[in-house]
């Protein structure tokens, strides 16, 4: 479950490690929680090519990937909380900030909200400007810490990548090789943009180990087992 997801994050987002999100400011490009960015991506990683819908406002980030639970990270006064939503089962597994710390899974909020490791982005060189998705776009090129060529097209207004590519082939225009490719970007009222939580029964992740008799939890444990 979460382990597979973190693997995905590591693959698509560069070499950034987990940091203390409490020190990170959320993106401020949305209007104080009233609107949210809705970004429609194609991503390519070790598991193949998939769609990712990312919804983001100033305190929440939601990732929707087919055949995976919807994941919503939320800034709280105690730190970052993760909710995994299972609408079909009407359940929601909540990782309290303390649970994420205990599992050593506190995400880097900046990386989570921008998909690309901010440290990697900082070491790339701007090579040109353009416009895409009605946003100003900056082209960055360079190499990562392993010496692999990197191409990044960055939408500064939305603080989101339009394109991220890793490898020698990235200098070309063959988009099918991109690790991250933006296909649509809109701003929408936050209330309707995020997956509704109504009717989802909340379960603490901390309780899963004590809920072996619960059929939903039993199934979750099995799925996690297979993910290893």
């Amino acid at each position: 479950m979460a382990r597979g997801w973190l693997l995905f994050l590591a693959l698509i987002a560069g070499q950034g490690g987990a940091g203390d999100a409490r020190s990170d400011e959320p993106s401020s490009n949305t209007s104080a929680g009233k609107t949210a960015w809705v970004a429609d991506y194609r991503i390519r990683d070790a598991h193949g090519e998939r769609g990712l819908v990312m919804v983001r406002d100033d305190t929440r980030i939601e990732y929707r990937v087919a055949n995976e639970p919807v994941r919503v990270w939320r800034q709280t006064a105690d730190g970052v909380e993760l909710r995994e939503l299972y609408p079909a089962e009407r359940r929601m597994v909540v990782y309290a900030p303390g649970d994420l710390r205990t599992l050593d899974k506190v995400p880097d909020w900046t990386q989570l909200s921008g998909l690309v490791d901010p440290a990697l982005r900082a070491q790339l060189k701007a090579t040109g400007d353009a416009t895409a998705f009605a946003q100003p776009l900056t082209r960055y090129r360079g190499i990562d810490s392993q010496g692999t060529p990197v191409a990044l097209d960055w939408l500064a207004g939305a603080e989101l990548p339009a394109r991220y590519c890793l490898g020698k082939h990235c200098s070309g225009q063959r988009r099918s090789d991109d690790a991250i490719r933006l296909q649509g970007l809109t701003q929408a009222p936050a209330e309707g943009a995020f997956t509704p939580l109504d009717g989802l029964l909340e379960i603490d992740h901390a309780d899963l180990g004590d809920m072996e008799l619960d059929t939903f939890v039993h199934g979750l444990s099995h799925a996690e087992h297979l993910a290893h």
């Binding site: 939320r74 006064a77 599992l103 050593d104 909340e202 901390a206 087992h225």
Partner: protein
Amino acid sequence: MRHLSTVLGCAALTMLIAGPGLTAEPEHIRGKASNKRAAAAPAAARGESAQQWYSDGARAARAGAELRPSHEKAKNVILFVGDGMGLSTVAAARILEGQLNGRSGEENALSFERFPYLSLSKTYSVDGQTPDSAPTMTAMMTGIKTNQGVLSVTQDARYNNCASAKGKSVATLLEVAEALGMSTGIVSTARITHATPAATYAHTPNRDWESDAELSAEAKTSGCKDIARQLVEFPYGDGLEVALGGGRSYFLPSTLNDPEDTSSKGRRLDGRNLASEWSSRPASAYVWNKAQFDAINPATTRHLLGLFERSHMEYEADRPLDAGKEPSLADMTAKSIDILQARNDNKGYFLMVEGGRVDHAHHAGNASRALVDAIALSDAVRTAMRKSSAEDTLIIVTADHSHTFTIAGYPDRGNNILGKVVTDGALALDADGKPYTTLGYINGPGYRGPAARPDLTNVDTANVNFLQEAAVPMASETHAAEDVGIYATGPGAHAFQGVVEQNVIFHVMAQSQKDTSFFFCSLFGGCGKGDKKSSLAPPLLEADLRAGMAKQR
């Protein structure tokens, strides 16, 4: 005779000629001390010598032999439960506490490890070799073993089946104590509706029915009440005096914003605000943060409900980070005893205190947080000892079950218990030439495979967020079936001898407290010669307790 005189003569000679030599370290100790050491001070610097080992051991043996049990009855009973605090957890926490205090660690003792009486508790349930917290706490609170996942109902009740649990509720010690006019309290760092605290006051065939949102359709149809509601509608005596822990959302309606996490709401679907209902009673208060908690006057507050988190309280290691601020387990224990003792009727009290998050940290494969929470429980026990008298208060410390947590390898004395194994000053290596930690788990999220083990050489394994390695991949580390310790002091503590079934804990408490002892032996015998018994067959069902109370009225 000749042999004896020879031995005695030799002994006298030894005393005469060998005395001075005993103050020096023997050769094997000096030899070892000369080896490279990772962290520990030399034995001499720790005040250790062969003479000291001998003297301390002899003194402990004499003290044990001279120990005489008290045959007085206890006025008060305090039961501490470290959830998942198995013997390896106690040993590692002992070492960590010692090392945090600047010592080698191994020689340290947690507060309750100095209690005079000790048993081992067999934790299996009626239908499980390795139990969960529901049947185990049921055993401790009702005197019977039962099935996995059910709280304070007999084994005739089936898990998740409300109808099957009708008439199967067994009276708990806390309920009997309240019925007899004693004061009662429960404290936990987990939700106050979680299995361990819930087993003291609630009866249900599903430990997860903590609010009405979790009740199944069958449960609602068959008339089962959720656990939070059972706490607030507690029918015995004048209700619990103290309930402190987490689980706020289970008491608040789904229409109400949480006071600390204001973008979240309560989870109750029936619209009831159980916290308000609690505080609407005379001399009753509800608090949700430390400032409010600190402001509570035990002399004027008869019933206190404290719910310090929406769900579980923070781990002790994270408590300073909490936005709303939370009291420690020791703080809650102290305030509870103050409130329970403030009553003037001199009837005594029953208090249950749970270190609930040892279990959660172990499930996550995080030894550091588990051990820090175990130390916090030890601190709470110390507080209880300070605020009560060994003359009239029975204190028991135990665990509901163990975990797959291990302390392994051959680390040097004083080696960081959270660190990598260092033997004779050098990093110990596995068969592949990689270092490994002293602490580990048989299963859990700390599994690093299926590739080869990671190289921990440059990893800070003492970091509070480090997950110890596990041999078997599992999303959540599991409980373990080994026995757990029972540590006891005060009147009645001497009843703990040998290896006992977990439900014996109930019977020791019930037979040691003066009022409950008289009550139970009047019902079921055991008061002595010529005692009269009622026609009831044990165990005491809740329905019989209610009927008895009604008759008394």
